[in-house]
């Protein structure tokens, strides 16, 4: 088995409520490895986004631990953030910056500078075919162009771990397809990709292993074949329903 890049153990997040606390993520444990796409599958509100936000250090776990590249998210948050590229479906761009400025800014935030920064920005923009509109302000870009710039921004520092929270949400077919292609190519470079989605076809196409999360709990975790074998179902949608709702197909 290749190197573990993400490890969570009993990761829990409680939100204080008026009458009782809400458990958004309940003792979730899983591992992701280098050269692997791990899909976190769940309905809206299942706890996927909260889990990913804890891994990106935007939220603090209530209990449990999580490590990325060996760094604890609670105690070494800066090292964790240096090791990840984080992208969510709701992530926006700075409208008044150009595509190049946007990518350069995040490169600088990750410690790149000088010719290294320039070369890397040129490289990623070119990789995504964004060099044609590199000097156009983000507010003037189409949805697909924006998504490419956003992905370029996410990987400008060449992170070993990529965390994508429903990255194809709201995208048209071509833009979504380009995103999926990119995830595959990034995995092929030996990087670790943690990918949350509620679109079964995407998970089926992309993920080496799948975790099914429901009501904050990780109900199942394994390869698609493992899950098929356990449930006796062929289609991922049926597998998901089996674990999430307990309904047979």
């Amino acid at each position: 088995m290749s190197e573990v890049r993400i490890r969570t153990e009993s990761l829990t997040k409680m939100y204080p409520g008026a009458e009782e606390d809400l458990c958004a993520v309940d003792r979730v444990s899983f591992e992701c490895h280098a050269g692997e796409v791990f899909g976190l599958l769940g309905l809206n509100g299942a706890g996927k986004t909260t889990t990913l936000r804890m891994l990106s250090t935007a939220l603090t776990p209530t209990s449990g631990t999580a490590e990325i590249c060996g760094f604890d998210v609670a105690n070494s948050s800066e090292d964790v953030r240096r090791s990840i590229g984080f992208l969510s479906g709701t992530t926006g761009l700075y409208h008044r910056l150009t595509a190049r400025e946007m990518v350069s800014y995040f490169g600088e935030l990750h410690g790149l500078g000088g010719s290294d920064l320039k070369n890397r920005v040129d490289e990623v923009l070119s990789y995504f075919g964004a060099d044609e509109y590199a000097n156009t302000r983000c507010e003037k870009l189409s949805t697909g162009m924006k998504q490419k710039v956003n992905i370029a921004r996410t990987v400008v520092h060449n992170p070993p771990v990529l965390i994508l929270d429903e990255p194809t949400s709201g995208l048209d077919v071509l833009a979504a397809s380009a995103t999926v292609d990119f995830v595959q190519s990034y995995r092929d470079e030996g990087k670790c990709v943690l990918f949350s989605t509620h679109i079964m076809s995407e998970a089926e196409r992309l993920c080496d292993r799948i975790g099914i999360i429901h009501e904050g709990q990780l109900r199942a975790c394994g390869t698609l074949e493992d899950l098929r074998e356990i449930t006796g179902q062929h289609y991922l949608e049926d597998v998901f329903r089996h674990f999430a709702v307990g309904e047979p197909a």
């Binding site: 800066e78 953030r81 240096r82 984080f86 700075y94 409208h95 935030l109």
Partner: protein, 426 residues
């Protein structure tokens, strides 16, 4: 990161670059403070000229009693704008003061009939038991023209009385000095610069505080609420920067915007005041608008601390706002409170006291006023700097603590009260 401030600098640089491309922000932070006074002033000058031009065209009518001596009439007729018309019979007073109510009624009646109404009545009468004549002037204090006529007629009568006294003294072989005991003269010892400082100190502090608030309000909205609305806050939080670095960069941006607005407005006021004064004030009056280096430094020091306090307070208040409208709703009261509190120092007799120096924003307005007027004293100035520095530090500390709270970006039901409670507890 090479230094703890490097991340803050990157955030600041990005914010400046974005701000310079935002038409709304450029308008509020650069163009408005530069052109507000010239536009307001030129508009005011035009209105003033129109009104004064129109006033000069209007003939001022004085109803005059038939008993008024011819010498007095001759003297009053020297005023070309004044037209003397015999008072109506009802107002002719022989041995009693005229009925002021009656004058008002007749004047209003003339006005309603479309006639040119008189603005004042000069009544000459003598009480049966009196040895000298009395003069009563009925006028309307709500009309500038009427007040002017009252003043002109009073001056004319006093001058004429002195002339007649002198003539009578000479006619009985006395020297004029025997009846005119003294001459009263007064001279303004204020230099033209001091006069300019006095005028500036009346109006400038409030506008400067207003401009500081203006600069910080729009930039705080953009850098905090705009970041959340665009969906870039989460992205920024996933970068290696610490939240304190992000907040420091944004704080520096809001403070800088506020100071730029202040400085441009100050520059604009002084340039415009110097230019406008030549248009309206006769050279004999002499007004000069210059600020010495000490006054400028004192004001800039106060403005810097005021800008820092406003920036921290506005960022703190903007943190829970989910959109621009919600942001404006919470930031506008801070802006209004700062601006209106500075009105308290606008009265001419207000000095710069230690009590004033303890009240945030009022103290900076009072410091600016004292600095412009050349009356700056050290103790209240130091107190002002200490109070504003403490306010800026405490506000920034709370804002930084609050910003480190988990839900600051993701909680849709956030309120400032909830943020403060949980942020401070953490």
């Amino acid at each position: 990161m090479s230094s703890p401030f490097h991340g803050a600098w990157l955030v600041l640089r990005k914010e400046i670059r974005e701000a310079l491309r935002d038409r709304n922000l450029v308008l509020q932070v650069i163009l408005l403070p530069l052109f507000l006074f010239p536009l307001m002033g030129l508009g005011g000058l035009q209105v003033y000229r129109l009104i004064s031009g129109a006033e000069e065209q209007i003939e001022r009518i004085l109803w005059i009693d038939n008993d008024t001596p011819q010498s007095v009439r001759q003297h009053l007729l020297e005023d070309e704008k004044l037209k003397l018309i015999p008072a109506p019979t009802e107002l002719q007073a022989d041995c009693a003061a005229p009925d002021a109510e009656r004058f008002r009624a007749l004047r209003d009646q003339a006005d309603e009939n479309g006639e040119v109404a008189p603005v004042a009545l000069l009544s000459w009468w003598r009480s049966p038991d009196a040895s000298v004549d009395s003069v009563t002037i009925c006028f309307d204090a709500s009309l500038d023209r009427s007040v002017d006529v009252r003043d002109d007629v009073t001056d004319a009568l006093k001058t004429l009385r002195d002339v007649l006294l002198t003539e009578r003294a000479e006619s009985v072989g006395l020297s004029p000095n025997d009846v005119v005991l003294w001459e009263i003269e007064s001279e303004n010892v204020a230099t033209s610069r001091q006069m300019g400082q006095f005028i500036l100190s009346m109006m400038l502090p409030m506008f400067l505080i207003m401009m500081l608030g203006n600069g910080s309000l729009y930039s705080a909205l953009d850098t905090i609420v705009g970041e959340r609305e665009r969906g870039t806050f989460e992205t920024l939080l996933s970068s290696p920067l610490r939240r304190s670095e992000i907040m420091l960069g944004k704080f520096a941006f809001v403070t800088l915007s506020s100071l730029v607005t202040f400085s441009l407005n100050l520059f604009s006021v002084i340039v415009f005041a110097t230019f406008a004064v030549r248009l309206v004030v006769p050279p004999s009056v002499g007004l000069s608008f210059q600020l010495g280096p000490v006054a400028l430094l004192a004001m800039l020091g106060g403005a810097l601390l005021c800008a820092m306090s406003l920036a921290a307070l506005m960022m703190l208040a903007a943190l829970p706002a989910n959109n621009y409208r919600a942001g404006q709703a919470v930031l506008t009261p801070i802006y209004m409170a700062a601006t209106f509190s500075s009105i308290a120092v606008m009265t001419p007799s207000q000095g710069f006291s230690q009590q004033q120096a303890l009240i945030p924003f009022v103290n900076v307005a009072a410091l600016c006023k004292a600095a412009i007027g050349g009356n700056l004293t050290l103790a209240p100035a130091i107190t002002t700097y200490a109070v504003m520095a403490a306010l800026a530090f405490v506000s920034m500390f709370i804002a930084s603590r609050v910003a480190s709270r988990d839900g600051v970006v993701f909680d849709p039901d956030l309120s400032l009260k909830k943020l403060l409670r949980e942020g401070l507890r953490s």
